[in-house]
């Protein structure tokens, strides 16, 4: 075995061109796998964090029927107790309470349906950084009477601007219609125009007053220290309080689950395609190599080296090549990822020219966990070895006499 090892290693370097190409193919395959995985991964993580931190939060608490019925009287009966509990829990990073009601917004020009969100200006800023989305005007901490923040798209649609007075119409908890004038103090931008057109913000104190005459909350949004704590927080809340339902982001947002699930599935599909391409490249190169070396291999057989050893020799060559290639590929991949994760990969340079306009971050920062790194490495090595089996078998079928004679 030791001698075979030596022969194989020498064989590899005897024809640097051929080995170089195989090395390069394997290294490229591994590099490609690691890089694509880290780009997809980084992209998903970034989007995930953005959605969690600016829209959904980790856990939300509602009246059990609020999300389906959305009736104003379905507010949280135990709001104060829950808030007290959340304040004392150290796993909770931030949380905020909201008063929500669906209604209609009317400008001098037209009417539109909106979700009216009464928020606690300070806590909301802590939890979802909503203030950062304001592109014009002020936040809700102003002295203006009945302040309202609306989306840029809605402002265009209603043909209104900061300072314009609009009328909001909604139901109170006794199902009576309430109409009141609000003053637009700020405009916000969001990732989707549905978001910009569908939501308006005022303070929960003002909205509660109109709806119930006292403080009522329909929603609590909780941001945890870590994502992993979401599930247990939801469970604790559900056990402890009866007249409410706590849900984690994965139950609340199918979009987010789609993003993570489908995102990872498509990256697996792509990984399989890359591995196939790699396997086929190696298979063909090795086959060609066997044809080229048929004279040499025939000679070895003719001078008495047995078939098993020839097979072993070729397999060993491939193993050595693959391992060397894998090391190079890993190093290249790590360098690429490190570089990209500090510099960021600008999607605008590959055709996403107006991504920012649509509210997507155009720069992706790839990330890759150690675990997936090694899984990919193993997959690539495995693929390379599988791809080498057929050519090695082919070599076994060589007839020594013919092979030695073969000139071309």
């Amino acid at each position: 075995m030791g001698m075979l090892m030596k022969i194989s290693w020498r064989n590899i370097w005897r024809s640097p061109g051929r080995s170089g190409v195989l090395l390069a193919a394997i290294a490229a395959g591994l590099w490609a796998g690691v890089t694509t995985a880290s780009i997809t991964n980084g992209f998903i993580q970034q989007r995930f964090e953005r959605l969690i931190e600016s829209e959904i939060s980790h856990v939300q608490v509602h009246h059990p029927e609020f999300l389906t019925e959305r009736e104003p009287q379905m507010h949280l009966a135990e709001a104060e107790e829950i808030i007290e509990f959340l304040q004392q829990d150290t796993d909770v990073k931030d949380f905020t309470a909201r008063t929500l009601v669906d209604g209609m917004i009317q400008s001098p020009v037209t009417t539109s349906g909106v979700q009216i969100r009464g928020i606690q200006p300070e806590a909301e800023q802590q939890t979802t950084s909503i203030q950062d989305l304001i592109i014009e005007g002020e936040y809700l901490d102003t002295d203006v009477r009945n302040p309202l923040i609306i989306g840029r798209a809605l402002a265009e649609r209603l043909n209104v601007n900061i300072g314009t007075r609009v009328v909001l119409t909604f139901q109170d908890i006794d199902n009576e219609l309430v109409s009141s004038a609000f003053n637009i103090v700020g405009l916000f931008s969001a990732t989707s125009s549905a978001e910009e057109e569908g939501k308006v913000f005022t303070t929960s104190a003002i909205l509660s007053d109109y709806i119930a005459g006292e403080m009522v909350y329909h929603e609590l949004a909780v941001l945890m220290q870590h994502e992993e704590m979401s599930e247990s927080m939801a469970n604790t809340l559900n056990q402890r309080f009866l007249k409410m339902e706590a849900q984690t982001w994965s139950e609340l947002s199918p979009e987010l689950r789609y993003l993570t699930d489908v995102g990872y599935v498509s990256s697996y599909i792509f990984m399989i395609i890359i591995l196939l391409a790699l396997a086929f490249g190696i298979l063909n190169t090795m086959l060609m190599a066997i044809f080229e070396r048929s004279r040499e291999l025939g000679m070895l057989l003719a001078i008495g080296m047995n078939k098993v050893r020839v097979f072993l020799m070729i397999t060993l060559e491939t193993v050595l090549l693959t391992l060397t290639g894998a090391v190079i590929g890993m190093a290249l991949g790590l360098i690429t990822i490190r570089y990209l994760s500090s510099e960021g990969l600008n999607l605008e340079s590959v055709g996403g020219s107006s991504l920012e306009e649509f509210g997507y971050a155009a720069i992706v920062y790839p990330v890759l966990g150690t675990q997936s790194f090694f899984v990919i490495t193993l997959l690539v090595i495995f693929t390379a070895l599988i791809a080498a089996v057929y050519p090695a078998i082919k070599a076994l079928r060589l007839k020594p006499a013919e092979a030695v004679r073969d000139q071309m």
Binding site: M104, T285, L287, M288, G352
Partner: protein, 408 residues
């Protein structure tokens, strides 16, 4: 003569040719697979959103898009219909709609609702709306009743046979109010829409909104989606700018366009990486082929063939191999892609639920596209890639040391 020589060369060692050609074939098939999956997914999204939401193309009053009020409406008469229908031969049919936002109320509940005045038969052609009735039946064109989306009906606690009150503003600020019997419920595939749509016969809606003979938009359906841009161009040419504005789905659904752009940018990256892997595999095969033929080249040169002549023969070989590979790839790829086009890949259990919950009206399948574009694009790219790689032997020939080569 070069062509003849190279053709013979190819078949002299058909095994070698076959390996190189299959490398290219495989590359084309993989690239086609990825391209087709990507396009298919997008087409599915566009198709869904267009059919159930805005249509592929709309003709509107020039002011309506910026200020969607009933004051900015279109005349709907024979003249407009014939003018629009005659603008381009690929227009299949047109669908008139009047759309506004009103309050919908039952005895106890009030909700904002999107009221759509439609022609049921035409709507049926666009999106098979009539087949989505879950309860009761759909109204006929001249009726005075409404059909509710079942989400809205649930929120208002209404069912078939009950009365619905509609309250809002008509054209030029006229008060619009009416009491209608609910004739049926439909399930709209988009969750957001399903919670807010009231369908009513076009004529009745026009009467209610004091907008007789007016509509807010005319949806134009092309025979094939790919004609959309051409139709938009000819509509823009034949219709007067002052009176009409033509919008395509790209303009009406900017969010969707954003998602597709983002996806495409990622895909460009991924396919780029795939090309690198494919390129290395192919280069390996070609390099091996060249090494194997060194002796042959040396002999040819030493018996007096000029380097340029040999180069030409190899060039012709390269062309033939690349062309054969790409052609073969398209021929093999077509049935594969076509199979998946006919039988989309279903997404597994959990994922199917997620897609369902998203409420975008998408089916939980991975769709493929057989648009000839994809074959052209991928075919040409791989051909160029293969062609450059296959130039390697020519470079090698120009630097060949005759004596060493023929001794080998």
């Amino acid at each position: 003569m070069y062509l003849k020589l190279s053709w013979r060369n190819l078949w002299r060692n058909y095994r070698r040719t076959l390996i190189t050609v299959t490398s290219i074939v495989f590359a084309v098939v993989l690239a086609l697979f990825v391209g087709s999956l990507n396009r298919g997914t997008h087409d599915q999204m566009i198709d869904n959103m267009s059919r159930f939401h805005t249509g592929y193309l709309q003709v509107q009053d020039p002011l309506y898009e910026d200020e969607p009020s009933l004051d900015n409406t279109l005349d709907y008469d024979e003249e407009v219909v014939s003018e629009v229908e005659g603008a381009h031969p690929e227009i299949e049919f047109i669908v008139p709609r009047i759309e506004t936002f009103m309050l919908a109320a039952s005895d106890e509940q009030t909700r904002g609702a999107m009221v759509l005045g439609i022609d049921p038969q035409k709507e049926q052609r666009l999106n098979e709306l009539l087949d989505r009735v879950t309860e009761g039946s759909f109204f006929e064109a001249g009726d005075q009743s409404v059909v509710l989306s079942d989400g809205l009906a649930g929120r208002l606690n209404l069912s078939v046979g009950d009365s619905l009150v509609l309250l809002g503003q008509g054209r030029f600020g006229m008060t619009a109010s009416g009491l209608y019997e609910i004739e049926g419920l439909v399930e709209h595939p988009m969750r957001e829409m399903n919670n807010q749509i009231v369908y009513m016969p076009l004529q009745e809606a026009q009467w209610l909104l004091s907008a007789e003979d007016y509509i807010t938009s005319l949806l134009v359906t092309p025979t094939e989606v790919r004609h959309t841009d051409n139709i938009a161009a000819s509509l823009r040419q034949s219709l007067d700018d002052e009176g009409y504005r033509v919008l395509t789905w790209q303009e009406m659904l900017p969010d969707l366009l954003g998602i597709i752009q983002l996806d495409n940018a990622q895909q460009v990256l991924m396919i780029g990486i795939l090309y690198i892997v494919i390129g290395f595999g192919l280069f390996g095969t070609v390099l091996m082929m060249t090494l194997e033929r060194m002796r042959e080249f040396g002999v040819l040169l030493s018996i007096g063939m000029k380097r340029s002549q040999l180069g030409m023969v190899m060039f012709a070989e390269t062309l033939l191999i690349s062309a054969l590979g790409v052609l073969g790839g398209c021929l093999l790829g077509y049935p594969i892609v076509y199979y998946f086009y006919r039988n989309p890949i279903p997404l597994g259990g959990d994922m199917a639920d997620v897609v369902e919950e998203m409420g975008m009206g998408m089916e939980a399948v991975l769709m493929f596209s057989i648009d000839p574009d994809i074959f052209w694009a991928q075919g040409v790219i791989i051909f160029i890639l293969a062609f450059f790689i296959c130039l390697y032997p020519i470079i090698k020939i120009s630097r060949l040391n005759i004596i060493e080569a023929s001794r080998k």
